[in-house]
Subunit: 215 residues, 3 copies
Amino acid sequence: MNEQLFSHFYFYGDLLGTAVFAVSGALAAAEKRMDILAFCLFGVLTAIGGGTARDLILNRDAVFWVADDIHLHIALASAVMTYFFAHSLSSISKPLVWMDAVGLSIFCVQGSAVALTLGASPTVAVVMGMMTATFGSIIRDTILDRPAVLLGPEIYVSAALVGSTTYVIMAEYDAINTLALLTGTAAAFTLRAAAIIFGLQLPKFKGISGYKRGR
Amino acid sequence: MNEQLFSHFYFYGDLLGTAVFAVSGALAAAEKRMDILAFCLFGVLTAIGGGTARDLILNRDAVFWVADDIHLHIALASAVMTYFFAHSLSSISKPLVWMDAVGLSIFCVQGSAVALTLGASPTVAVVMGMMTATFGSIIRDTILDRPAVLLGPEIYVSAALVGSTTYVIMAEYDAINTLALLTGTAAAFTLRAAAIIFGLQLPKFKGISGYKRGR
Amino acid sequence: MNEQLFSHFYFYGDLLGTAVFAVSGALAAAEKRMDILAFCLFGVLTAIGGGTARDLILNRDAVFWVADDIHLHIALASAVMTYFFAHSLSSISKPLVWMDAVGLSIFCVQGSAVALTLGASPTVAVVMGMMTATFGSIIRDTILDRPAVLLGPEIYVSAALVGSTTYVIMAEYDAINTLALLTGTAAAFTLRAAAIIFGLQLPKFKGISGYKRGR
């Protein structure tokens, strides 16, 4: 793929991911029948929460949406549109799941790329990739007092792990960056797609009875 | 209003807001019959949580209460006093609501002012103002596992939005800073006061049934 | 105690604390019968969450586990081992409580030491010490939607308070650093040990009925 075409693809994929994550955050507010400001709050939190945590922990010069507020505008616009058009959204819930998979796949690889650029170790870069893709949703569900969807049975966080790990390994072995980004994104998307189609799950902890609750 | 008088008013209003927010945080611990340390934890979290999140995201040189710990001392003192005098506080719950409205009005405008000073865009500055005024309470309610009061029906976050937006617009059009601060504060306070007196609410999302839970 | 011996003791005590905190985090995931990634998430969050919040608020050049990822590796390894050996862990829940007390005692003093080194005021340093020792567990319980264990009746946060305060007072009066660290750690450990053995509790707020919920 041509380098410039790729960077366009990546740029728009990133914005698409932001929009879809914001819609999913706003839909969580819809479930609780909140007002439009809550739609915005949870839309923004879900869309940019993960990248914000990443940038803070990596001590980046500026959090990405403070440096350039296009992501903030997209997240806000998506949340507002969700408020007015949520009825129609219900009929496109299937496409939304797939757009979300695109967002997930791009966010995890991108998070790891940012981390490596800032000099983080491979392990830290993988963790940052997963955090970028998943932290916003986890915070949203925590504030809304519902069980974290991402920690549910279906494979989601694992797809981020696979995408980030693939990218970081390739980058460590000096693969061309475009190729590493593309392969990592494809790996995450493939696993997530398989999970959506076949309902893949990781094995749960079988459990033990009788140990005391930890501290 | 005389410039120096104003900055005194603002300084003490800020401290008053800190104290009242800390009392409201400690009262949440009182509801759950916790010990004095939990009073301090939730008092401090509510009073300085919003400003802390703002300073971290804006990458400020030092978080405000690390640079000068007067806010921390006031929050701790307020929480401890709440522990010992909560019985009397119940009889002043009405004045507390109004002092809280003062705190809200000052915090949102101040948060936006800090953001603009640090070079943030107008949209980011408005978000930072709202975050300064509301984030501490949201975290407190999340940790205490109770529905976020601020996300309830009554207008609260909206007042912060109006205050921040008013200030940011005036600042963008080069209004005298004192005037912009004062107008923003007054706008937020007026809306919040109307909400308290008349029980104003934003319309809730009417709801749809049947869409699947988002990711 | 010989200076070099001491720093070894401190270094390994710190890693032991990290491992035990990670085990306690992973056990929380075990209770909810989650998958191995959730074990890792909650193990890491519990073990390094407090120190991360401290480093962010103090605006440290690099968060400790980004600068050197040994803590991250230990936390991940502990979480994975918990997944496979949680059955056996149930039979060592008693030793775990004591190792956790060691971790608590070292983390609180260490957190305050980091804060003073970075120029924080005594009050801020005490708060940072308590945060280092307790914040990870509080976030874990919040995300898992269970009542925060640390805010339960038994003395835990208080032990961190006593340890941090002892250290900070001695450091302010120019005590030899090794001695201050050791005394603070011993103070925290003694109080926590007494709490474990005798079930010590702080008095709860007796409660009032009839005040309105705060904002």
